[in-house]
């Protein structure tokens, strides 16, 4: 066997790939499920915190800022390990899936709150005043006038940040979530061949490459206006 053939047989072994393809597909499904849940709950929580902050009640705002700082400063893997290995000692035993989901949700919440808040504060005061003077209530002004403009501004940075955090679903493999990386790793140890990892890598590229390209496109389309 030539070196090239040996390389192909090692990393692109068709027999091993065919054998473990269903596992990787199953893992892909779990990754998609986890990612979708994280995106929805993280963004909703982040927006909710930003709206709460816009009310301007000082003690609440300090608490929000601290929470955001906390989850920006802690590595996601540390949060996952704490929730999965730490909480059971206090009688709570979240599953590995729930631990990963909760951790990434908290991280995305923190980052998206920052971005939403930056968007809200970037809307000139005149917009608020004009909306209120036409008789809209605070809530109506926020929802109908300020938020639509703010969210448009936040879309490019939010997309990029969301992709970066969603890729963290791979961290779930550390606490044995059966997502792509977890499935691929156990397939490698069962088959003594790294081809399942190649498959897993391909699955990640197929999932995330279009998202990265979308993020790049949005960035050029909707630049922050100076």
């Amino acid at each position: 066997m030539s070196n090239w053939e040996r390389f192909l047989d090692t990393f692109f072994n068709a027999r091993v790939m065919a054998r473990y393809l269903p596992d990787i597909l199953y893992g892909t499904l779990i990754t998609i499920e986890l990612a979708a849940l994280v995106i929805v709950s993280g963004l909703v929580a982040g927006l909710a915190l930003a709206l709460l902050r816009s009310v301007g009640f000082r003690p609440v705002n300090l608490l929000i800022v601290f929470t955001v700082d906390l989850f920006r400063a802690l590595p996601p893997l540390v949060i996952i390990v704490f929730i999965y290995f730490g909480l059971p000692t206090a009688g709570l035993s979240p599953s590995s899936f729930v631990s990963t989901w909760l951790s990434l949700t908290l991280v995305l919440m923190a980052f998206s709150e920052e971005i939403f808040w930056a968007g809200i504060t970037s809307i000139p005061k005149g917009q608020w005043e004009a909306a209120r003077s036409t008789g809209l209530s605070y809530g109506q002004a926020l929802i109908n006038v300020v938020l639509p403009q703010a969210i448009r501004l936040t879309i490019p940075p939010l997309t990029n940040r969301t992709i970066a955090i969603t890729k963290g679903t791979a961290l779930g493999s550390v606490v044995a979530v059966s997502e792509i990386l977890g499935m691929a790793s156990s397939a490698v140890s069962n088959s003594y061949n790294p081809s399942p990892l190649t498959l897993g890598a391909a699955a990640y590229v197929i999932l995330f490459f279009p998202m990265v390209v979308l993020g790049r496109w949005l960035e050029t389309r909707m630049r922050w206006k100076r």
Binding site: F7, T10, F11, V65, D69, L70, R72, A73, L74, P75, P76, L77, V78, I79, V81, F82, F85, G86, L87, T89, A90, E114, A118, T121, S122, I163, A164, K167, G168, T169, A170, L171, S173, V174, I180, L181, S185, V188, N193, P194, L197, G200, A201, Y204, V205, F208, F209, M211, V212, V213, R216, W224, K225, R226
Partner: protein, 220 residues
């Protein structure tokens, strides 16, 4: 509750172990941050080349490594390399993975910075007799870095947090040491302590970033 999550006896026992881990996290950061910056610098300078045969593969390279979860890259190197007769250490794998992954992110940021420098600056520099390389080094890069400093710092924060992935390939950094201590004591205190150390270490940077970002928005 406090007995469980912040047991003082365990804090005392685990502290030296975590301190060694912290030292390794700092050392690892000192190695991988410049490595990523170096990779990013190469990519951003190449991005100035107009030739489509350079431009498109370069963009695909950057987007590929931005799409690829860093942990997957790390595991691929660590678990895959022995199969082709290369026994790469955890440290080597972390270095390669960070060079590829964080290099792509730094590259995007620096490219945006370089594009933000007006072409008049380059023309003026060239007309005074500076060479291409000198123009890049003395005129374009300093302004580019200044313009994207918040993004560079924000990415550096992410890179430092990412060093916690080293624990997966048995590098004795902060998280790894904390997990070792936790599995010996059957108590989550070491993990809480490690989280506290990360927070104390990185909070100033997060505060600084928050201020820089708010100022950028106020100026926009």
């Amino acid at each position: 509750m406090l007995q469980t999550f912040f047991n003082l006896d365990i804090v005392k026992a685990a502290w030296p172990i975590l301190l060694a881990g912290l030292g390794n996290t700092v050392l690892l950061s000192i190695v991988v941050v410049p490595l990523g910056l170096f990779g990013g610098l190469i990519l951003s300078l190449l991005a100035g080349v107009r030739n489509p045969w350079v431009r498109w593969p370069l963009m695909a390279w950057v987007d590929f490594f931005r799409a690829f979860p860093p942990l997957v890259l790390l595991i691929f190197l660590y678990a895959g390399s022995p199969f082709i007769g290369l026994e790469l250490s955890g440290f080597t794998c972390v270095c390669i993975a960070f060079f590829l992954n964080t290099g792509a992110y730094y590259g995007e940021i620096l490219r945006a910075g370089i594009e933000s420098v007006p072409t008049g600056q380059i023309d003026a520099a060239r007309s005074t007799g500076l060479g291409r390389f000198q123009t890049s080094l003395y005129v374009v890069l300093p302004q580019a870095v200044r313009n994207v400093l918040p993004d560079l710092l924000s990415n550096t924060l992410e890179v430092i947090k990412l060093t916690s992935l080293g624990s997966v390939v048995a590098m004795p950094e902060l998280l790894f040491q904390a997990r070792q201590a936790q599995s010996v004591t059957y108590n989550p205190t070491p993990i809480v302590l490690a989280a506290l150390v990360y927070f104390v270490m990185l909070w100033p940077l997060v505060r600084l970033l928050s201020r820089l970002e708010n100022r950028a928005v106020a100026r926009a």
